[in-house]
Symmetry: C2
Subunit: 395 residues, 2 copies
Amino acid sequence: MQPEKYIDQYRHALLNDVIPFWMKNSPDLESGGFFTCLDREGKVFDTDKFLWLQCRQVWCFAMLYNQVEPRREWLNMALTGAKFLQKHGRDDQSGNWYFSLDRYGNPLTQPHSIFSDCFATMAFGQLYKATGDEAFKTIATDTFYNILKRQDNPKGVYSKAVPGARPLESFALPMILCNLVLEIESLLEPALVNEVIGHGIDTVMNKFYRPELGVILENISPDGTFSDSFEGRLVNPGHGLEAMWFMMDLAERNSDEQLAQRAVDIAIQLIEYGWDHEHGGIFYFLDVKGNPPQQLEWDQKLWWVHMETLITLLKGYLHTGDERCAYWFERVHAYTWSHFSDPAHGEWFGYLNRQGEPLLTLKGGKWKGCFHVPRGLYQCWKTLEAIQAKVPLNV
Amino acid sequence: MQPEKYIDQYRHALLNDVIPFWMKNSPDLESGGFFTCLDREGKVFDTDKFLWLQCRQVWCFAMLYNQVEPRREWLNMALTGAKFLQKHGRDDQSGNWYFSLDRYGNPLTQPHSIFSDCFATMAFGQLYKATGDEAFKTIATDTFYNILKRQDNPKGVYSKAVPGARPLESFALPMILCNLVLEIESLLEPALVNEVIGHGIDTVMNKFYRPELGVILENISPDGTFSDSFEGRLVNPGHGLEAMWFMMDLAERNSDEQLAQRAVDIAIQLIEYGWDHEHGGIFYFLDVKGNPPQQLEWDQKLWWVHMETLITLLKGYLHTGDERCAYWFERVHAYTWSHFSDPAHGEWFGYLNRQGEPLLTLKGGKWKGCFHVPRGLYQCWKTLEAIQAKVPLNV
């Protein structure tokens, strides 16, 4: 691993391509908040505002302000999004965050997704760090406690499942809590932080990771058994790979080398499982028994899957020096930069077909915003720097 | 158009390939009802029972019994499905039909889809025709009246939309009612039949069909205006093409030649709009403004789209003699038979990628069952015969 080969590439793309793309094209100067539906060149093609993406963009600019340098324009971007969210984001009655709003902030879709709340917590947590404004702290912590309260029944009245018929626990929420708790660690009681972390690690590594299958399942029965159903057989390799860098961050915090090595071992299993040996790239969805998955997009190559994998492989290498991480990093790096980045018009494509051609040429939409690409570029840049600083120790 | 070139091909595939495939592989001899999740060779890979497909398969076998010949084995297939549905299909409280059950009939998913009810009406209507059993008639008519009662708010409590925020009417229900009412015409008061038909034709041809855009939209505002949103811009060419043969059936019933010609003109517009000039086949979803659609499966080629289009083109030719129908029939026929049918293992693939290769090799799943292929083969066969019988008039 020669980190110096890559550091500039990641830093430069973040600061000179991706962030300027969103600064230029996404602010809604009239109504506040951000446009996220941007075509290949950055032109707005839809004005709806999706809470996941509004919150994630606030988080992104506040994080850059906190971690890279305190540029006033970045803080202003975060603040303009936050103002819109404070005014329009929550259902007054429940305090839950909506799923989508129209351009003007009128709610379109009910607060059915607890992930809106997760990303709101991240956003206002970072913004509190940036500004010290107590109002932001209150929003972050209130929302976090509300998530904990709802976590055993996250879909609430919006679930279409018949209660009790086939209870399933989903990987996404416990996994994201492992990241979220580190985001707002300083705002919480240490006992609560330790409880959430302990529970999160156990759930991810001992319940959803299945050594006998070599994968992380997306849904399991509450008693931990395998559910032989479409949901129970579902594997999303990129999701598991993302979770492994959350695990490595927790391992670093807890100085738990064993956890880091286990996360690396699982990550390597997942990438070997999810890699498309015919066309390259990582599949979006697979059925663990090899049956046809329900998702028609199963063979597509998604930007976030590859970005998160790059982070995991670099963190894995940093913490363990495992050469498999270096090998796979080079391979995924080569695929990712040659297929997702779009030097002609800036930012990255989000959705490729199996063959690696853009399936949609958008740069942002209902699910892709200013988040995975900049967070990933930042994380890779900083991890490469840490590897470089550590290199004399490894050789 | 030389119908004799094709008649045997459609009849033979129906009676010697497709129907035997389902007879052999789908009955659940232990718990009743049908398995529909069948792999390429017909092996069951999941045992959940989806109401749409259970009902459609009952309809299919009862229809064959009524229309082709009264084979006892076909009626038995329909009856075994009906018995399972009578016992497990409905929510006792509301009388609404569930979306899915487990193998044993325990409800898994709430009755959130009014289309379960539509297909139940079709199933029990055909079965009443086959048997004269009043219990079947009652189920068909009760369910139909229940649909009419729910039609203005079909999703009911399962909608995630904020009420009133962006009201949209969907094409699917009025379109399917145009077919459903003919299915059970003899069980209804003539005044009601005429009302549903009149309203259906008007809604499809004057509200959802947009002459200024040359397409049928999937969702419009209740006042008939265009909604510039993901939902409002959505076009599903195959859905509109299917609706056009429903219109032609109504035109035939009403001896309305003008309606038949209009349906042909729209069908030709839709196929010219939806045809993939690069790889052949009809796209699944398009955005009418040319923006990236939300559906990641937008460029895929689906079996039902092509089957329904073949029916429409043949009926169009039968009723109008329009040579554009003959031209497009030959083209779609060639694509469909060379890409979807699977002589090696029987039945048809359901999902192809844009390039025309099988994306999933299943023969049945959560959405593909014993319905579009056999119904389409039957409809094409019979329409080809009618064209043949009429040919001397056309030359």
